[in-house]
Subunit: 326 residues, 2 copies
C-alpha cells in the first residue's frame, strides 16, 4: 500500500496532456517581505481549480471498461468532487458525488456543471463513507476515495514532481516545502516525491489550528479524530482524521506540522489578492499563511509552497477582502 | 523615433533578472468556452502588478550617473507610477509621481510604499503634462513619459517577446494577439514584436468603448482626443489621446481596434476570478472581455491575450464580484 516515485512518474504519464502543468510563480515582493525565496506552485490554475484532478484522473484512468461504464462515486467537500466529475466526464463515465450540504455554492454548481449527480449529507451528523458505500452498492459504481488510495496519493504527488523540475529550471534548490494537510493525500504524495527528488528538503504539512488531527496523530503515533464541534474556514481541509494509507506515509516522510488560525488564513488571502493577484481559497493558502504569520522563518532559504486550490465563493471572498486587518 | 525588434531585444537584456518572466497561462475551461486556444500573458504577476515596470526600467536603466542622481518624474494613473517608483528605487534614483487624485487607493499607497513622492492633479481639469514638466524644471528631474518614448515602447514590447517564445514552447502558433490600448505603448511594443516574430499573427488593440481615441484616430488618420466628459471603469486606459510616438506605430502595425463596455469588463473580471483564479484590474482584462463578449470569434484559432495588470482596490473588486450578472 505504499507509494513510490515510480508510482508518481506513472501518474504523470497518465496525466500528460490532460492535467495543466501549473506554473511555479515567484514574486519579488513576497521574497522581499520574507527575506528568502518563495516558489508558489499554483494549483489554483489546475483543471477544476485545485490539485484534486491529478489524483482523480490517475485513479479513473485505471478503471476497466466495465467499471468505467458503471461509473464512479466519490465523497468530497468540493475540490475532489470537481476533480472526479471532470475526470469521469473526460473518460465517459457517469459520476455521483456525495457532498456536505454546506459546501461552497461554487463547488456544488461546478460539480454539477461538469456533469455529475450530487447527493448531499450533513457534515456534522452523517457518516459520509457509509453513504458513499451505499451508493456504490446500489449502483455498482467504483468508489474514488478523496485521499485513502495509493493511486490518489501518486496522482497528487505529480504536483511536487513538476515543482521539483520547475525549481531546478529556475535555478533554485528547495530547502523546504509547505503543503496543506486535510486527509493527507497531497502531503503524502508531495513528501514521497520530495524524498526521492530533493532528499535534503524538509516537507512540512500545514493544518488549520482547529483541524489539527494530523499534528496530534503524529504526536500520539496513532490516527486521532478531530473534535466534532470543531469549525474552520478551510472547508477543503476538514477531514475528520488522517487516512489509513496516507498517515503512515506522512508519519515517515513529513518533518512536522504547522498550524494556522482562520484569521491568519484570511490575512494570507488578502495578501495573495493584493500582492500576488491570485485568488486562493482558505484551505489552499495555509502554506503561505504559515510563512506570512512567521510560523517558520525563511532567512535566506528557498521554500516551495503549494497553493492547492482557488475555489471560493465570491461572497466569502468579498467579505474577507473588505474585512481589513486592524 | 521608430522601434525595432532589436530595440525590444536590447530592452529584454536590460530587464534580465530584474523583471519577472511572467507565465503564459492556459485554461482548459476557457478554451472550451471559446472553442479555440487562449494563452494568457499574466502581466498581473509582473513586478508592481502590471507590465509597466518593463518600460520604466528600460528607460531608467539608460540614465547617466548625473541624471540618476537628480532623479525622475512621471505622470500616471497608477501602474506606470508603480513601475517608475520601483525601477527608480532599484537604481537608487529619487522619484516624483504626478497622479490623478481619483486613482485607486492601492496604486497610490503602493507608489508611496516603493519610495516615490506623490503629487496629485485633477484628471478632468489639470494639464498633467504641464505639471510634470514643471516638476522636471523645478527639480532637474528627467521625465519618464508613460508611453510616448521609444525606450518605453521597446520595454513594453518585451512582454510580447516572451509570449512569442512561450507560445512556441507550448506548441502553439499565435493567430491573433489582443492587447489593451491606453496611450498605446504596450500595443505599439506588442505589434512591433509580433510583426517581426510572428508576421502572420493579427494584433488587435482593445479600448474601453468610452475611451476609443485610438479607434477614431485610426479611422480619421490623425490623433483624436477623447471627450473630456467620458468616463470608464478602466482607469489604466484613460489616456486622453494616442501618443505621438505610439500612434504612427499602431497605425502601421495594428490590424484594428475592438471596444468593450464597462459591463463587459466587469463580467470578464468575474470570469477571471471564478474560472482562472486571477485578479485582473478593469483596464487589464479588456482583451479577455472582448473574447468573452464575442467581439471576435475564436473558432479553432489560437489567441495570445495580454492581461496587463491586476492593481484593483479590494472595495471595487468586491463590488464587481458581488454584482452578479442577471
Amino acid at each position: 500500500m505504499s507509494v513510490t516515485l515510480a508510482d508518481i512518474q506513472s501518474a504523470a504519464d497518465r496525466l500528460e496532456g490532460l492535467a495543466v502543468r501549473t506554473p511555479l510563480i515567484e514574486s519579488p515582493a513576497l521574497n522581499d517581505r520574507l527575506g528568502g525565496r518563495v516558489l508558489l506552485k499554483a494549483e489554483t490554475l489546475q483543471r477544476g481549480g485545485a490539485f484534486k484532478f491529478r489524483g482523480a484522473m490517475n485513479r479513473i484512468s485505471r478503471l476497466s471498461d466495465e467499471e468505467r461504464t458503471r461509473g464512479v462515486v466519490a465523497c468530497s467537500s468540493g475540490n475532489h468532487a470537481q476533480g472526479v466529475a471532470l475526470a469521469a466526464r473526460m473518460v465517459g463515465a457517469p459520476a455521483v458525488i456525495v457532498m456536505p450540504q454546506d459546501a461552497p455554492q461554487m463547488k456544488i454548481a461546478n460539480t454539477r456543471y461538469y456533469g455529475a449527480e450530487v447527493i448531499f449529507y450533513d457534515r456534522y451528523r452523517d457518516d459520509r463513507d457509509a453513504l458513499t458505500r451505499q451508493v456504490s452498492a446500489d449502483r455498482g459504481m467504483t468508489i474514488v476515495w478523496p485521499f485513502d488510495d495509493p493511486f490518489i496519493v501518486a496522482g497528487q504527488g505529480t504536483a511536487a514532481l513538476e515543482m521539483a523540475g520547475q525549481a531546478a529550471e529556475a535555478g533554485a534548490a528547495l530547502d523546504l516545502v509547505l503543503t496543506p494537510v486535510g486527509g493527507g493525500g497531497l502531503a503524502a504524495g508531495t513528501a514521497t516525491a520530495m524524498a526521492a527528488l530533493a532528499p535534503h528538503a524538509k516537507v512540512w504539512g500545514v493544518e488549520p489550528a482547529a483541524y489539527d488531527d494530523t499534528l496530534r496523530s503524529l504526536a500520539s503515533g496513532q490516527r486521532e479524530r478531530v473534535d466534532p464541534a470543531a469549525r474552520s474556514i478551510c472547508d477543503a481541509l476538514m477531514s475528520p482524521f488522517p487516512g489509513a494509507v496516507t498517515f503512515p506515509i506522512n508519519q515517515q516522510r513529513l518533518t512536522g506540522i504547522l498550524t494556522v488560525t482562520d484569521l491568519e488564513v484570511e490575512e494570507a488571502m488578502r495578501y495573495a489578492f493584493a500582492w500576488l493577484k491570485l485568488v486562493v481559497e482558505p484551505g489552499g493558502v495555509v502554506g503561505l499563511a504559515a510563512l506570512l504569520a512567521g510560523r517558520m522563518a525563511l532567512e535566506g532559504r528557498t521554500a516551495g509552497v503549494i497553493l492547492s486550490g482557488g475555489n471560493v465563493d465570491p461572497e466569502q471572498f468579498s467579505r474577507i477582502l473588505t474585512d481589513a486587518a486592524p
